[in-house]
Amino acid sequence: MSLELRHEMKPSLTAEEAARGRFVSGLRRFVLNDLAADLRSAYERRVEPAFERAHGRPPADGGEVHKAMRADPAFQTYSAVRVQAQKMVWACVAPTVERERQRRQEIAGKAQASPGSLTLDPSLRAPRNVTAIDVHLMPGSYTGGEAMDAGAVYDQGLAVFSMGLMGDNLDDIGSSMAAYIAHRFPDFQPARILDLGCTIGHNTLPWKIRYPKAEIHGIDVAAPGLAYGSTRAKLQGQELHFHQMSADALGFPDSTFDLVFSSMFLHELSGKTRAKVFKEAHRVLRPGGLMLHMELPPNSQMSAFDGFYLDWDCYYNEEPFYKGYRDEDPEILCLNAGFSSEDFFSFVAPSIGIAGEDALAVAAASATPLPVRDRTTGRLAEGVSWFGYGAWRR
């Protein structure tokens, strides 16, 4: 299913646009369920046995699986269809976004007086990991088009892309993470929260809903998404503060925040930038504060095949730092930034939209964290769950 957005900037779709979006969502579901099942079957029936015959052992990691799978027709079919389906996500929303530009501006103008703020920095040059490539095959990446266009493309595109598995306000990740933290650490009441690389603030909003008294800030390097996200939050009656800022050079004083959060952000950064981001998170956290990241699970916690499956995006979805990130150890990343090993934790949180709040409460209360599940953790599939980790600052 293609999701209908919940705010006033939701597009007024023509019958053709609605049908096109529905088709692309359905095609993605076909790829990620049916063709993905064929991919696994091909690996188990053909590719892995052939590799074992040639090498006397199974593939050791996702890289070896990738090389072995390249010539298999199941991989070729899955990949060619998935790449085109991804391009179709953005292509199907682009005409609507362009047609409704004026309407969006009028809505934004009316919402401007609502609580919340947007602080842009025209002197900030977006980094090359945003500007040099079409991230996620999205033409123009996060900075393309006019005014808020890239934000609108992202919001509407994500509604098609997510197949209904990322929440009815595209906020399932943020909602699940916030619920997990609230249940696991009921005494933790953050007064100031920062979301790094927030794009349109879709996963920033749930923190305001979970902690309504908290002051919430979101930063990103791309102005179109921030401008769109600021309006999007105001239209939903939530006071958020958006800043155009780079996560590796935050413009906040030391010890400003109680919680520094990110979701699906770290894998978009190069190794050097990522290390700086962790150090900045440590710097702006007050003692007793929490750094929390929702991300893809590390390769070390997955089978060789499932590591390969997730790392597909690194090579074919314009996310060049994806595998490099997933090869890293989350705990080491935290330790290198000044956090202590005893303050580190990682977990798997069920999707709140699918499993419900009670399942999150059970997961948070359990002495034994849920394990990373190869087929559902971090993957848009039935029973999706999210991998998270973090560390407390002393």
Binding site: M1, A15, E16, A18, A19, R20, R22, F23, V24, G26, L27, F30, D34, L35, D38, S41, A42, G63, H66, K67, R70, A74, F75, Q76, T77, S79, A80, V81, V83, Q84, A85, K87, M88, R128, N129, A132, I133, S270, G271, K272, T273, C314, Y315, Y316, P320, F321, Y322, K323, G324
Partner: protein, 86 residues
């Protein structure tokens, strides 16, 4: 050796030949097949759009409304059956 900080450099460990001369991913031995797949999917989208709009018109004329999500799944399963592993 490529610069690991450069987003345009091939990702570390990328198998040889995964990108075509245009720098885009390539999956089949003959790059024309990759382009053909893309065209086929675009065509399927156009056919579905006509199918959904026709169904809406028929429903208006008393033909009975069908759930478009159910109809789409049947359409995709039918059209793309040859892509599945047997």
């Amino acid at each position: 050796m490529s610069d690991p900080e450069d987003p345009l450099a091939p990702p570390a460990g990328a198998p040889a030949g995964i990108f075509g001369p245009d720098g885009r991913p390539r999956f089949f031995t003959d790059a024309a097949v990759d382009r053909f797949v893309a065209s086929l999917l675009n065509l399927a989208a156009e056919v579905w759009i006509q199918e959904e709009r026709l169904a809406a018109l028929e429903a208006k004329e008393g033909g009975g409304a069908k759930d478009p999500e159910v109809a789409l799944k049947a359409f995709i399963d039918r059209v793309f059956a040859p892509l599945r592993e047997s």
